[in-house]
Symmetry: C2
Subunit: 464 residues, 2 copies
């Protein structure tokens, strides 16, 4: 059983290190299995690796499937030459070893002819479902509890390993896109007194030797809009925290792609999000295709611009299709799916009722029941992935909205947000995108928990 | 008064956007002051900007100093031609406006000859110390409370703006270095039951509808070592939380550069940290030089390798120099400075007493009183910036250490850390580096609070 590993550097041999000095640190591993597959027969091998499947005993020969982060290879043990074969034969999967021998390439297949094996650490237990098995069941609901409780071990599963490597690659693509477009990366604090939504949806902090309540950040928006009035284009890719219900698209601790830009209107920020998604998805394309092939899923087609429909028109369309919804109600996941199927892909729902949106967002100059916000609904039933808004920049408009939301009684917490309107604030727009949701959509994975190495899910005890 | 702004993209004109489609979004600002300085006389200007200093009235002419994120320029108002001059004259600093006119370049100096100004938002208040003033006093202790309470406004100060732009550039350099060296970016969870140090040094969480205590992460180490046994080279650049004392080098919420690598010994990880610091500091050099010139500070000389001294030898040397210290005591900030002055630069102190170090770190095979850890002390009195360690990879060694630290009674929280030793763990090394400390050292800024946009400091109410 030879597994294929997918890694961010799949297109270049692993050993190509740009800084020669790093490669000069002899204590670190510099030989990787991927490079062996491109090596030459007779090459001497000294490889740190793990037993990734069962040993096969063919009488005079023993075959060990070994792997590392870059791939797998077979080790051939000639029982007449290698005294340790008896010990090797009893090794459990996950045992780590150093393999010394010679590379053999015949009919395009690489193998290591073993001279000596040093066992570094014997695995003493087995875990089911099998850690290294390439099996989509690893992502299935039936295995969730077991897999999450042993997440520290299941990171070695080829699918989870590939998903986390993909995540790393995705992060790089996002940072590069923002830097290419002159955005400044602003670290927003995670400990905050000023949350976007109501306290019952936030995670509370204690033990800070003060009596005031503090929260974990729900959104970097307040901080980014302040920074936008210095740097003009700012972004943040960092954790956000919400006490959400337990569904396949909610995490309690998730990563949020946030951007705020001075100037621009709602249509501009919608355009920006479309370009962002198209550029990132194109950057990731070769890697996405490998991953979706591995999982037998399909990547979505990102053809921009996406259709744009107003909330009021969406409600009418849903009613036409027999789905009951009145003005002022949230568009449910089921309703999102009906709309997404109707348009055959992602779509924007704009001008949501002001009562549904928090206070920093502008009210429509044409209909004061509506806000200048829009949600991007992805395709394939993956639901809402992004929200955009024009943000109130005058004290007058913000005060009106804060009164509606009862925030004027919390001026010890929100006064700084209001005060920033007194110092030359300009019309500005923002978007917020759930990183794990986008990853899930791009790869077609069933549950958002597999889009993050160590998921935190509402109601689940976080171990590890 | 014309200020110089320093930005990450100082070396290329701001308007060079690689994605033409982004530039096609007409609603966003595309004209920046830096580009105007490189423009041609007669060019028509439509600029979103802020008043960054006082207007000067010269009888028939009015001069407005305006600025944006990329620089500053003077706007010339001919009173005979511009009816709004009277209103412009009374504008307070920070007021935002749109300036339309013609670019004039004479004797190498760019100015905008005003045709029309639209006032977007009048600043209604003034703040002292002045928001836009280029004055090192903005970083001085005397102004700390005022500046931190108004951090949302002081982000526009040229020094703080430059420091945050530098921070963004620094992040990019770190991510690129790790990606260049085949590291995978692993998001460690910030909500965790398993902390590295004792609960009194951690921030506690409530309201998670369980009775167990949870904490904000003090270190990504436990999670990264699990991931290292999948990806072999992993890193994390993310927030860490500690209830530290209030000094000029401690933050309650700081950014931690963490890396874990399979294989290697303590000397290898020390080599790696040296190469990392040298490469990053070289990447940042042009920008560091601008920033230190602005602040009249000096960047440190990073010449590797750094001297390495054992803890025992350091204690002896300090005693020789008349500084009393006994085996088992922590090396204080004062002692660090004596050593750093002695060596004339950064130095490593290795093999610290096992009692001073948390349980995951290896014990010296040569002296069981000592651990396989080392701290990097920077130069110039900026103190400790990095710790490295060999990590225990056998159940036997880790159990011994966990017993010493009383962790065996907390197996509901730490069992997964111990159990990972049963599944083929290999010798591995780690480093942890305080990002804001390194930034502070590179730029020579007095207090670590100015190395982060919204500092969280022990004992200070976090507003904003």
């Amino acid at each position: 059983m030879m597994l294929n590993c997918v890694n961010p550097d799949d297109l270049e041999p692993r050993a190509v290190l740009r800084s020669k000095t790093f490669a000069d640190i002899t204590g670190f591993k510099h030989e990787f299995i991927r490079d062996l597959h491109q090596g030459q027969s007779g090459h001497e091998v000294n490889l740190l690796c793990w037993l990734v499947g069962r040993t096969r005993d063919h009488g005079t020969m023993l075959f060990l499937p070994v792997g590392d982060s870059s791939g797998t290879i077979q080790v051939v043990v000639d029982k007449a030459k290698v005294p340790s074969w008896a010990e090797l034969k009893t090794l459990k999967t996950e045992s780590s070893l150093k393999v010394s021998g010679t590379l053999s390439l015949s009919r395009g297949k690489a193998e290591i002819l073993l001279e000596k094996a040093s066992i570094i650490s014997k695995a003493t237990k087995l875990l089911h479902p099998e850690i290294r098995k390439l099996d989509k069941d690893i992502l299935a609901n039936a295995n969730t509890d077991k897999v999450l409780a042993n997440r520290h071990l299941y990171l070695r599963n080829p699918l989870i390993l590939a998903l986390n490597a993909y995540r790393s690659h995705f992060f790089t693509a996002i940072h590069e896109w923002f830097k290419d477009h002159q955005f400044v990366d602003i670290s927003a604090p995670l400990i905050t007194p000023s949350i976007l939504y109501e306290p019952n949806s936030a995670i509370h902090l204690t033990n800070l030797k003060t009596n005031k309540t503090l929260f974990l950040s729900q959104c970097a928006g307040f901080y980014l809009e302040a920074a936008a009035h210095a740097h003009e284009r700012v972004y943040n890719l960092g954790p956000s925290f919400r006490n959400e219900s337990r569904t396949n698209r909610h995490l309690m601790e998730y990563w949020h792609i946030k951007a705020e830009i001075c100037s621009g209107k709602m249509d501009d920020i919608m355009d920006l999000v479309e370009i962002f998604l198209r550029d990132i998805s194109e950057t990731l394309l070769p890697f996405t295709d490998k991953l979706t092939a591995m999982m037998e899923t399909k990547r979505p087609r990102i053809q921009i611009p996406f259709p744009r429909i107003s909330y009021i028109d969406a409600v009418a369309l849903l009613n036409e299709k027999g789905f009951p919804l009145s003005f002022g109600q949230n568009i449910s996941k089921q309703a999102e799916n009906i709309l997404s199927e109707h348009f055959g892909g992602p779509l924007w729902i704009s001008h949501k009722p002001r009562d549904l949106e928090p206070f920093p967002y502008c009210i429509s100059p044409e209909d004061e029941r509506l806000s200048m916000t829009a949600d991007l609904i992805s395709s394939g039933g993956f639901g809402e992935i992004c929200g955009v808004a024009e943000k109130s920049y005058t004290r007058e408009e913000l005060e009106t909205r804060m009164k509606e939301k009862g925030k004027m009684e919390q001026m010890d917490i929100y006064s700084w947000v209001l005060e920033s309107r007194d110092f030359g604030m300009v019309p500005h727009t923002a978007f917020g995108m759930g990183f794990e949701r986008v990853l899930r959509w791009f790869c077609g994975i069933p549950h958002v928990k597999d889009a993050i190495p160590f998921p935190r899910i509402f109601g689940r005890e976080p171990i590890p």
